[in-house]
Structure formats: C-alpha cells, structure tokens
Amino acid sequence: MLANTPHPINRHPIRLLDLAPVLQPSPSLAQEVVSSNLPPLDTLLIAARLGELYETIFPQHPEWLEAIVDWKQEEDIAKAVGRFLNQVAKLFPIEDECWAADIEFIEWRLYSIPVCPMGFDIWHHGWDEIFEPAPYLLHIEWSRDEKENPDERNEFQQLYPNHPVPWHLEPTRLVGALREICAERSRRLTPPEPLHGLPDLIEMLMGCTDNLWLDVGELSLMEGGGYPQWDPVEVEMLAEEWKNAKPILDRVLALLNWQNETAEERDRKVTAVHEILLEAYRRQEPSYLPQLKMEFAQETTCAAAHHQE
C-alpha cells in the first residue's frame, strides 16, 4: 500500500508515533531468532509441561523424556500429548484421543486430567435410553410422588403395571438386604447370576457408592467443571479408586446387558428384579404384608375418587 499510494508522503525522521522500530526486534536479533529455527514460545511451553508430567507421573520411565517431536507441527504435538494420555489410560479411564484442532485444547489436557467417569447422568439423559432395570429403579424412586406432582399421578403404574411395589419400598434402603440375598444365592449358584449387580446398580444410580468413578457422570462433570489436576498423589488415588470400581462396574454391566434383546426378555428381567426387591423388602420390613394391603386399599380409594372427579 505504501509503495503504490498516489498521494505525496511527508517522509520525516523517525518520531514518537513511529512504532515500527520500537516494537520490532533489531534486524540482527530477528535474524538470530529465525536462524535458530526454534518452535514458538507457546509450543515450547507445552513441551516443557509435557516433560514435567512425564517426570512426575512416570518417574520410573526416564527414557520417555528422550522422545523427539516436530514441535512446529500441531499434529505432531497432539500425537505427543496423546501418547502421554495413552500411558495414563492404562491406569484409569481418560479421554486419551487428542486432536490437533486447537493448541489451547491440547494444552488444557496437560493441566486437567480428562477423566471419563462411569456414573449415570440421570438428569441429562432420557431414562428410556438406559437399559433395564435402571429405568424401573429410577421410576420407583422418582415417579411415584403423587402428592407433589398430581399431573404425574400413576406414572410408575402406567409404565410398570405388572410390577407394582409398596409405597414405602425404596431401593436405596434395601441395598443391605439385597447384598445378603445375593450372597446367599451365590453360595448356591455358580457362576453368580447377573442379578448380583443389582445393589451396585442401585447405589450407582443414586450416586452413593462412595467411589468417584461411579458416582459422577461424564456430563455432570463437564457441567460442573471439577476435573482433577495433574498431581502424582491424585493420579495414584484415581488409579486405586479405579481398581475398586472395575469389579463393581463389571457386575452392573453384566446386569444391564443381561436379557436385553427383546421386550419379553426385558420384561423377564424386570420381573426378576421386582421379585428380589420384594424379597429384600419382606426381609427388611417384617410388617410388609399388612402394610401392602393397607396401601393397596388406600390407593384404590384414591384412584376411585380421582376417577369420579
């Protein structure tokens, strides 16, 4: 633009507002920087951080610090970070894929551990997207509040007319009794049946396993933003927690994937869960039968009154 302008230019000695000579490095310095052929500072900072993480998280593998990367290529940087995350993924589940889409995104992975928690996001997903008996248990817990939500009256009964449960039956309160029943059954049966995952599933759905891998869902974590920071103690704790979570998760998945192909199979599964819940309720609440009869009588009266209205 300057060379082609048709207007006369008042060329004067360098003055106050001529910023170019002030803000640009001197020609000799610029030449020195260019000739050094170094990657930009942002990239060098990422490399230093990556090296720092290898050093602190995997001190037993000093040879990994000898990795050579083309630090000028974003794709290569992403791959280098991905290789580190792959090593961590052997300890516990994390998002270990790293794309070169955004250097800031790559950098974020080096400051927060991109963990993949396994808990249910029951308030983010439709319950019908989860395999039975999870929706059945959730509706027992949340869809029977007739007093507060008159419009949702009988939603649970509409969805599960053949599998009613007493009003005071709360799956979370039956976990202990269910574990007893499962332990008794496992002494008789080999291999253990998928229903043995039921107490674990109930605790997972309600977020009360006390295991951070199982009590929090991926979407909830994303929403809350409480990702753990890279720290050797934190990594060790996460790995230990994951060791405890894995067998629980295996039992839960075995139950969710069991009898799931057809509607008949799913109905059989809910029937089996319904029976074991009632058995646990009977065991825990000896006054179960009279109470059930009384509740049934009350519900029948209420339903009749509602129908007349």
């Binding site: 230019i9 008042n10 004067h12 001529d18 050094s36 490399a47 090296g51 050093e55 000898e66 990795a67």
Partner: protein, 85 residues
C-alpha cells in the same frame, strides 16, 4: 484540562519511557545449540521459558493499559499523515 494539555501530558509521559530493548530470550541460544529438541532438553529450560512467558504477559498487560487510557483522549487532527499509515 484541555485536549492540548492532555496531548502534552501524553507526549511528555511517552518521551520519558526508556527505549525498549529487545533481548534474545535466554533459553534461545541454549535450545538453538541443541542438536535434537527432546522433551528432556526443553524441560531443562522450564524455568526460563515460564519466566519469559510471564514477562511477555506482563508487558502485554502494561501496553494494553496504556492503549485503554489513550482511548479516552479525543481525536486530534494531525498536520500530515504518519509514515506507514
């Protein structure tokens, strides 16, 4: 305070600022002499790299502060077009 005296104040203040000396960051010669930029080589310069990044950030913030302050000065007609405009 008139616009003219504002400008005079600004010019006086800017004139008093010492000349900015661009320096080669201290890690550059060290890294540039390395045959291969392994993680270990870069990691060894961690403190220098971060110190330099902090300085750059501080300078950027300071420059930005001056620019924002200058926004409050009303435009003043210039006698000729500055070189490079």
């Amino acid at each position: 305070m008139s616009n003219l005296s504002d400008m005079e104040t600004l010019v006086t203040a800017l004139t008093a600022v010492p000349e900015y000396k661009t320096q080669l960051p201290p890690f550059y010669p060290i890294l540039a002499e390395s045959e291969v930029l392994t993680l270990r080589v870069i990691l060894a310069q961690k403190q220098l790299l971060r110190g330099h990044a902090d300085r750059e950030r501080d300078e950027f913030a300071a420059t930005n502060k001056v620019i924002r302050a200058c926004w409050q000065i009303p435009p003043t007609p210039l006698t000729d077009i500055p070189l490079g405009f």
